[in-house]
């Protein structure tokens, strides 16, 4: 078995790897088109039955396909970006060049994130130095083995170094930071703050994704429509279930706009059933005891706080619906704990968003309302406004930032000889 995730022990291991990576970038220019050919083949190999249970694998296969990536590259790098060519701008022409070696610090809660993050930088022609979170080493190794099989000419694999080490090894984090020209950082508040404080070179481009939380909102025309209620509930459950509700794009709260005295009881009953069904289809296999404890605490706090509060939950910590009213964004609990709050007007909670909300998942029947919500959400710091059920779909811009362009240099050539 090719061991692509290296157990790194000293800063020297990292600086040595970075020298080789930088040389690989200088040795050969690769176009996004060449890279997509390898990705396409990789996507096919990931279609192996043994990987079917891996969280996010379906999405990863789709992401790696040419059909997904081509429009993204065209939008971010220009019409000729696909073939690594120059794009004319009046008397000048522009072309994307890699920044060099890009360091990646993926979050530990999204299984495929080391790969996703890495692919963004590779598409820009960069080499990558990826710190693999301890819990994702085996899984990432499985995915990388498929890349090795898809890349016999080592077009990409010689541009990749994956470092596995304990989270607390500050010296190794610092060594990565010192060795890179760009960084893509994903994760929680503590992790992001620590990594941002590392000694990056002054020229390094740093793109930070997260920490954020997400919210969902529905108007009465959507949640009150008997023909669509079940479908909406399924979509919400799906968004909650993925990544155990720990991703930045996971909804932590669902705001339901009241409508003409219509009761939400039937909708909430269907939502409960959707959660039960999703839980049967995708039960947890493990849970940290601290999360169980937090879920029990959330259930109890919610119900003890106000007698008007309601909740629905099974005996196990599998999922929880906390029901009430109010337009304040609740503190996230995670672990499939969704707070459902009735509001008079969806504009009320959105007007209280403070920049921490990344995605607003919508179920809206009234187009005018949707336009107003999107505008207000954008003003209040929301970066993605999508339909419920598609909250995790990884399409740039993400967190308001492109995924490939931040790690390329757009070189402008004013032609003298034409």
């Amino acid at each position: 078995m090719t061991n692509l995730t290296e157990n790194v022990n000293s800063p020297a291991d990292i600086s040595c790897a970075a020298v080789k990576l930088r040389q690989a970038v200088l040795d050969a220019e690769t176009s996004p088109n060449d890279i997509m050919t390898v990705f396409d083949s990789w996507a096919k190999r990931l279609d192996a039955g043994e990987l079917d249970d891996m969280p996010g694998i379906v999405f990863l296969r789709m992401w790696l396909r040419r059909g997904t990536l081509e429009p993204i590259i065209a939008r971010e790098l220009g019409a000729n970006g696909l073939h690594g060519g120059w794009t004319a701008y009046g008397r000048a022409q522009c072309k994307a060049f890699p920044v060099g070696v890009v360091g990646h610090w993926p979050a530990g809660n999204v299984e495929i994130q080391p790969i996703l993050s890495m692919t963004c930088a590779l598409l820009g022609g960069n080499a990558v130095l990826v710190r693999i979170p301890s819990g994702l080493v085996d899984l990432t190794q499985c995915l990388m083995e498929k890349l090795v099989q898809s890349d016999p000419g080592e077009l990409l694999t010689r541009r990749i170094f994956m470092a596995a080490f304990e989270h607390g090894r500050q010296d190794l984090h610092a060594a990565i930071a010192q060795a890179v020209d760009g960084a893509m950082i994903w994760g929680g508040e503590e992790a992001v703050s620590q990594i941002r404080a590392l000694p990056f070179p002054h020229w390094a481009r740093v793109a930070v994704f997260g920490p954020r939380i997400s919210a969902a909102a529905m108007d009465a025309g959507a949640w009150g429509n008997p023909d669509e209620q079940e479908s909406w509930c399924r979509r919400i459950a799906r968004d909650v279930w993925q990544f155990d509700q720990q991703a930045c794009s996971s909804p932590q709260v669902l705001f339901l706009e009241k409508g003409n005295g219509q009761s939400t009881a039937q909708f909430l009953l269907l939502l409960r059933r959707a959660f039960e069904t999703e839980n049967q289809a995708h039960p947890r296999r493990t849970i940290p005891a601290a999360l169980t404890s937090a879920i029990c605490q959330a259930r109890a706090s919610w119900l003890l706080k106000e007698t008007g509060h309601q909740a629905v939950f099974p005996k196990a910590p599998d999922w929880t619906l906390l029901l009430g009213s109010g337009s304040d964004l609740p503190q996230p609990i995670h672990g499939k704990t969704l707070t459902v709050l009735e509001v008079d007007n969806l504009l009320d909670p959105v007007s209280k968003f403070d920049g921490n909300v990344q995605t607003l998942g919508l179920g809206i029947a009234d187009p005018e309302k949707e336009r107003k919500l999107a505008l207000l959400a954008g003003k209040r710091g929301v970066d993605r406004i999508v339909k419920l059920g598609r909250m995790h779909v990884f399409v740039p811009p993400w967190d308001g930032v492109d995924l490939i362009r931040p790690m390329v240099r757009m070189v402008r050539h004013v032609c003298l000889t034409d």
């Binding site: 979050a107 809660n109 819990g135 508040e189 992790a191 920490p211 947890r284 964004l329 403070d354």
Partner: protein, 374 residues
């Protein structure tokens, strides 16, 4: 309430570790259900919680099905109470070593009485009923101001029924730090080699302020008949790489007694009146007026013997605050559901530490509002 009092008193009057487990649980579940009924009448929020529990407690056949509260709920301020302010005799606060926010529990007269009785019944089973000289490895003055009492004070006070004289061997220096009063200690140990005595201290205080310094000086107190009880958890000692075996050996050497005279007991302010001393086999047991359920974090169902899980403590003693069914933040291993060689019936278990702090690893881990930062 009178009838409920009588039922609690009845289980308190029985030998604490003799009842067959099935019989004990059947008795307890009925009392706990009555307590839930009573407590729901006294607190609307608690009633709301109990009503939303997935199993109707009135039809529950086993303690494990009854609505438990996570212990963190008792950090509420003002504390959750089932009695009026005029009925509160004492407020206990926990040591808050982990979260820095202490739990607060309010005690009325009946709960205080049962708490004192419960602790005494358990200790009598482990150290015998005699009163004896009592050495407190702490500073005097922990009994609190007015009605407030901390965890250390509560533990010290819980052992008073076994004391015929009490000596505190620590004092406070000018900076308010604990310091060993060697004269008092010497005085206490003098001519006591043939006398039974009782020593109590919080685990890390006993170690840091008595055992460690005397050990370094090679001093032995020559108290072969002393029983040394300690509680409060191992977190701070684990930070110094001190494990139970080393602790027992070195403490025994300093006191000049056998290591099996060193008894670690687990107790928590939130479950007053029930403590869990180590039996000679090194296991802990639940008394007749309480129980322990070790729950699988994934399912919250009780684990099988040999497995680890989150500890839930159950006690019929409190009626002034919601301390009957508490999911703790501790992890334990169930040794057996009955048949400990020490002869005590029912569950035997061993603590395996605190629930590990959740790793903040997700891109959705965000706990504060930006407006609060600015």
């Amino acid at each position: 309430m009178r009838q409920l009092d009588d039922k609690i008193d009845r289980v308190l009057s029985m030998p604490p570790y003799c009842q067959p487990p099935e019989e004990k649980r059947a008795d307890l579940v009925e009392i706990l259900k009555e307590e839930l009924e009573y407590e729901c009448q006294r607190h609307a929020g608690y009633k709301n919680y109990v009503q939303h529990w997935p199993v109707d407690y009135r039809s529950a056949g086993q303690i494990a099905d009854l609505p438990f509260l996570p212990v963190g709920i008792l950090k509420a301020n003002p504390p959750l109470s089932f009695v009026g302010p005029d009925e509160i005799k004492r407020t206990l606060t926990s040591s808050a070593t982990t979260s820095q926010v202490p739990s607060r529990v309010v005690l009325d007269l009946p709960t205080t009485r049962r708490m004192t009785k419960g602790t005494a019944i358990i200790l009598r089973d482990f150290i015998g009923p005699a009163r004896r000289p009592y050495l407190v490895v702490d500073a005097p003055g922990l009994m609190g101001n007015g009605n407030a009492l901390g965890a250390r004070g509560a533990a010290i006070q819980g052992l008073q029924p076994f004391a015929n004289e009490t000596t505190y061997c620590l004092g406070l220096d000018d900076r308010g730090d604990l310091t060993l009063d060697r004269d008092r200690l010497r005085e206490f140990a003098k001519d006591r080699q043939d006398t039974e005595s009782l020593v109590y201290g919080f685990t890390f205080i006993l170690w840091n302020h008595l055992v460690k310094p005397l050990m370094a000086e090679g001093i032995c107190l020559n108290l072969p008949k002393a029983r040394i009880l300690h509680s409060g958890g191992w977190k701070r000692l684990r930070d110094q790489a001190v494990e139970k075996t080393l602790f027992n050996q070195q403490s025994a050497r300093v006191f000049g007694c056998s290591p099996d005279h060193i008894v670690d007991f687990y107790g928590m302010v939130e479950s007053v009146g029930v403590i869990y001393p180590d039996c000679p086999e090194g296991n802990k047991h639940a008394p007749g007026f309480g129980d322990v359920i070790v729950r699988n974090p994934l399912t919250l169902e009780p684990v099988a013997a040999g497995e680890n899980g989150i500890v839930q403590v159950c006690s019929v003693l409190p009626t002034s605050f919601p301390g009957n069914l508490l999911l703790t933040e501790d992890v334990a291993k169930v040794i057996a559901y009955d048949g400990c060689p020490c002869g005590r019936r029912g569950i035997s278990f061993r603590f395996a530490g605190r629930i590990p702090k959740a790793e903040l690893r997700g891109c959705g881990n965000l706990q504060i509002n930006r407006s609060l930062v600015n």
